[in-house]
Symmetry: none
């Protein structure tokens, strides 16, 4: 039953487009979570697994995991592993956090040459099915 992490591991790829490795890892792992390949509570691939599989330094992988944790996407537990955070959600959507996330997202969109309007539309479309109450 290592399948989830294995599948994620296999999906990871690195390209030489000038984008730092840790950024590529950060984004791809985030995507795996966003797609539901990794669900809340699931264990992430081990830092060492990623390090060995992709032949990337452990510190580099850690850099990516570190940012994911600071972003609240995952939870790091030494000696145990890394796990996808369960959305603590409902209520607490501090406007500040929302605004901050919006800015960061916009920056990423700009970096990738993505149209913000198009992006906003897709976000709404993807969010709709799971829309819930408060």
């Amino acid at each position: 039953m290592h399948t989830c992490q294995q599948r994620v591991l296999d999906g990871l790829t690195l390209g030489g487009t000038g984008v730092p490795i840790y950024v590529q890892l950060r984004e791809q792992l985030l995507r795996a979570i966003g797609e539901g390949v990794l669900q809340p509570g699931d264990q992430m691939p081990t830092m060492r697994q990623v390090s060995v599989t992709l032949k990337v330094d452990l510190n580099t992988v850690r850099h990516a995991y570190d940012e994911l944790e600071r972003a609240g996407a995952i939870r790091l537990e030494r000696g145990r592993g890394s796990f996808v955070s369960s959305p603590p959600p409902k209520d607490a959507a501090p406007a500040a956090a929302s605004e901050d996330l919006a800015r960061r997202t916009l920056a990423l969109a700009a970096a990738a040459g993505v149209d913000p309007a198009d992006l906003a539309e897709r976000i709404l479309a993807l969010a709709e099915p799971k829309d819930k109450i408060s």
Copy 2:
């Protein structure tokens, strides 16, 4: 005739998400070309214009222009300017990139307890204020 170049200049934005500045410039300019905002033969914004407008070093801008030229997207002519090549290469960041970014962003939003609808709104608000396209 504060033309297309001006509009492209205004559309350029930089964010500190770990993505190198020259990559952000490269992708955004590529997208402008791919979208037809800048058409074959059109003059690109001057390196110095970009440098001053975005408060980025001239060498950094050059790095981006340099890669665009090697990619065959533009043509550099000293003393004259930079121009869009006749057969502009097909866009590297079409709909797929947008879809991926949307998923990644949703994962972050869920982790932070941010309402996707609210987020989408803020993204639009942050992106739009400038150019009312006419």
